[in-house]
Symmetry: C2
Subunit: 385 residues, 2 copies
C-alpha cells in the first residue's frame, strides 16, 4: 500500500520577495513538521520544475537540494512542462512499488513572476513543437484552436466556457492559499479582454509563484503512526503528439483518455465513483475537454452541463471539481501544479479542506497536463479505511 | 532479473548538420533494429538531456518524442547536469523493479556545438551553485581547485594528471564512435594551453554532440530470445552539496563513495572483482579521484599509480578503465554520457567492443557525475551466464 501522509503548499501568487528555493524550503520544512518526520527519515526526493533552466540558468536541482537540506539521498529532477508535478508523483509511486519501507518527498516549485511576460511566454513556448513556436502559437493560441473547434462542432458559444471560470473563482475564494480569491460572474468573463479568440483573460490561468510538497510512504509503521492519510490507488501517464496538426481529434486530449483508462483499471473503480477531482484547467476549454476525456461527461455535452454548475460546491452534488480553485484561481506555478492537485485531494480525503470540504468523500482523482496535451498524468486516491 | 539487451550510439563529435532529435532518432531506430524490436514493444522511455531548454528553448521532450515515434507510452525527461544519463538508467531500473514483463528505452542526447562557447559555458554553469556562478567559477575552475588541493596534499605535479589523458586518447583511437581518435603523449598534454591552472586543454573533456540508447528489459521471453545481453546487478545514486565550499574534503567526491558503497552491496561483489569500468573523467583529476572513491585505489595513491598505465589496454591487467576513450576522447555530449558508459560496458560484457575488447570480462562498472560532484550514479553489470 502506498499512502500520502502529508501535504503542504505555500501561498500561490506574485511572491516577489521569495526565490525558487525559498519556496521549496518552506514547502519541505512545513510538510516535515506536519508529519513529525525528520529529513533523515526521507529516502528520496522527486523534484518537479519546468522553467528554472530557461529563466534563471538554474539546473541540477538534485545537488542544490542536497546542499539546502544537508542530505546525500537520491534526488531526481523531472520536467514535462506543466505536467512536471504529475510526472514526479508517477516516478515516486514507481519508486515505492520497487522498494519496501521507503518514505519519499514529492516537491514541485516554480518561480515565474520576477521575469517579464515576454521571457515567461518564451519559456512556456518551449513546451510546444518547434513548428508551433516558429508560427507564434503560444499556449493561449493552441487552446484557442481547440476551443474554436469544440464550440463550432457542438454549437456552443463563448458564454458556455465562462461558467468554468466562475466556478473555479468561487472555489478559490474559499482557499486561503489561492492566487485569486475574488468571486466573478459570467459577465466579468465575457467582458474581459481577448487573449486569443475565443479565450479571454478570465478564461486563462495566471502566471504564479509557489511550491507544494507531499510525503508518500509504503512504510507500514509510518502509515500506522501518522493520522491523516489517503491511499494512492493508481498513477498513470500517457503521451501524444505535441503538435495539434498531428492529432486525430481537436476536441479531445488523447493522452488524458489513455492515462485515465489505465488509472481506473488499476484502481478498480469507475468514473462514477469519484466525488472530488482536480483537473487541468489551464484554460476554461481545458476543463470541459478534461471532464469528457476522463469519462465523467459524454463527449460534447460538457459545454451545456457546465452552465448548471453541477461540479461546484453548494450547487453540485455527485462530483465536485477543482475545489482548490483549479489552475484558474488557485494559480499555476507550473512545477507545483501537479503536486498541489494530489495535495488538494489528500485534504479532501482527510477532511482538512476547511471551507471547501466536500462531504462523504471516498475517492478522488487528479489530472495534470503538459503543454497543449502532449503529456497527461491521472492519479486516483481513496480514503484510508 | 534486469538485462541490458541492446545499445547503440551515434558518432560523438561536432555534428553541425544534425539536430538534437535527429541524433535521438538515429540512436533509437538503430538500437531497435539491432534488437529486432518494434517501437510498439517498448513500454516506456527515459530521456536524459541537460541543455536543450537553456540553449534552444526546447523542453517537454516527453511529448516531442511521442510525436517523433508516433507512440502514447510514458516518456520521462530527467536532468541532473552531466549525470542526466545515469539518472535515466537509475529510474529505468526502478521502473523495471516495480513492474513485470516490461521493456524500456534509456536514451541520452545532447546538442552543444552549434552554440557559441560563451552560450555553452553559461548553460553548463547552471549545474553549479548560484554563488559559484556569480564568482565566475566555471567547471574547469571548480575541478582546478580540486586538482590543486590533491596535487599539493599528496605531493604530485601536473605530469601525474597527464597520464589519464594519454590513456584515454589511446582508447579513443580504438573507438570508431569517439570524438577524438588521435593518440597523444605526456608532453602533448603538458604543452597544451592552460584552461584553469593546473588543468590544460588536454586535461579536459570536449564539448560534443551525440546520442546513445539502451534497451533494458525484465521480460524473460525477450531476454531468452535476444542473443547479446548483460545483467544490470545494481544502479545507485547519491547526492552531495553542490558548492565546493560546503564539502568536507576537496580530495574526494562523497556522492561517488556513497553510491559505490550501495552499488557494491546490492550487487554482492567487491571492487577487486571488476575488470572494466567507465568512470567520469570530465577532467583528468576527476578520473583519479573516481578510481580512489570507487574503492579501486587507496586515497592519494592514484597520482602515482596512473603513471604506470595499470588501467590501459595492452599495458594494464586487472582492471581496464574508460575503454570508450572516456569523456576525454570519446566526447561528452552531456545527456548521452551516462547512457554511453553503460553501453560501453554492455559491449565489453558481450564481446562486441572490437579493437578495445578486454578479455575474460565478468563484471563491469559505470560511474557518472553531475556538476562538480553533487550527483553521482554507479551501476554494476555482469555477463549473462
Amino acid at each position: 500500500m502506498i499512502a500520502v501522509v502529508g501535504y503542504y503548499s505555500t501561498k500561490f501568487g506574485e511572491l516577489w520577495e521569495r526565490s525558487l528555493f525559498d519556496l521549496t524550503k518552506e514547502a519541505v520544512n512545513e510538510v516535515l513538521k506536519q508529519t513529525a518526520l525528520e529529513i533523515k527519515e526521507i529516502d528520496a526526493i522527486f523534484f518537479a520544475n519546468m522553467l528554472a533552466g530557461v529563466l534563471e540558468n538554474n539546473l541540477h536541482s538534485s545537488a542544490k537540494l542536497a546542499e539546502i537540506f544537508n542530505i546525500n539521498i537520491p534526488i531526481f529532477r523531472v520536467e514535462a512542462a506543466c505536467a512536471s508535478g504529475g510526472m514526479a508523483v508517477f516516478l515516486a509511486n514507481q519508486y515505492l512499488k520497487a522498494n519496501t519501507n521507503k518514505t519519499v518527498l514529492v516537491v514541485g516549485a516554480e518561480k515565474m513572476t520576477d521575469f517579464s511576460p515576454e521571457q515567461v511566454t518564451y519559456g512556456l513556448s518551449a513546451a510546444a513543437s518547434s513548428q508551433e513556436q516558429e508560427a507564434g502559437l503560444t499556449f493561449p493560441g493552441l487552446y484557442a484552436l481547440m476551443a474554436n473547434f469544440y464550440l463550432h462542432k457542438y454549437h456552443y458559444n463563448e458564454e458556455n466556457l465562462a461558467y468554468v471560470s466562475v466556478k473555479n473563482h468561487f472555489h478559490g475564494s474559499l482557499n486561503s492559499k489561492a492566487h485569486f480569491r475574488k468571486k466573478i460572474i459570467v459577465d466579468n468573463v465575457l467582458e474581459s479582454p481577448y487573449v486569443a479568440y475565443p479565450l479571454k483573460v478570465l478564461d486563462s490561468s495566471p502566471i504564479s509563484d509557489g511550491a507544494a510538497a507531499l510525503v508518500l510512504t509504503n512504510d507500514k509503521e509510518k502509515i500506522k503512526k501518522i493520522k491523516n492519510k489517503a491511499i494512492l490507488l493508481s498513477c498513470n501517464l500517457a503521451t501524444d503528439s505535441i503538435s495539434l496538426a498531428k492529432r486525430k481529434n481537436l476536441d479531445e486530449i488523447l493522452a488524458t483518455k489513455i492515462a485515465a483508462e489505465k488509472a481506473f483499471k488499476e484502481a478498480k473503480i469507475k468514473p462514477s465513483e469519484i466525488q472530488v477531482a482536480e483537473v487541468h484547467d489551464c484554460f476554461s476549454i481545458a476543463e470541459i475537454l478534461a471532464m469528457e476525456d476522463l469519462g465523467f461527461w459524454e463527449k460534447g455535452e460538457g459545454g451545456k452541463l457546465i452552465t448548471q454548475f453541477p461540479t461546484m460546491i453548494d450547487k453540485g452534488d455527485r462530483l465536485i471539481v477543482n475545489t482548490s480553485g483549479g489552475l484558474k484561481a488557485s494559480g499555476h506555478p507550473v512545477g507545483a501544479t501537479g503536486v498541489k492537485q494530489v495535495g488538494e485531494i489528500f485534504l479532501q480525503l482527510t477532511n482538512q479542506a476547511e471551507k471547501r470540504q466536500v462531504k462523504n468523500v471516498k475517492y478522488g482523482l487528479t489530472h495534470n497536463v503538459g503543454g497543449s496535451g502532449g503529456t497527461a498524468v491521472v492519479s486516483i486516491l481513496a480514503v484510508s479505511s
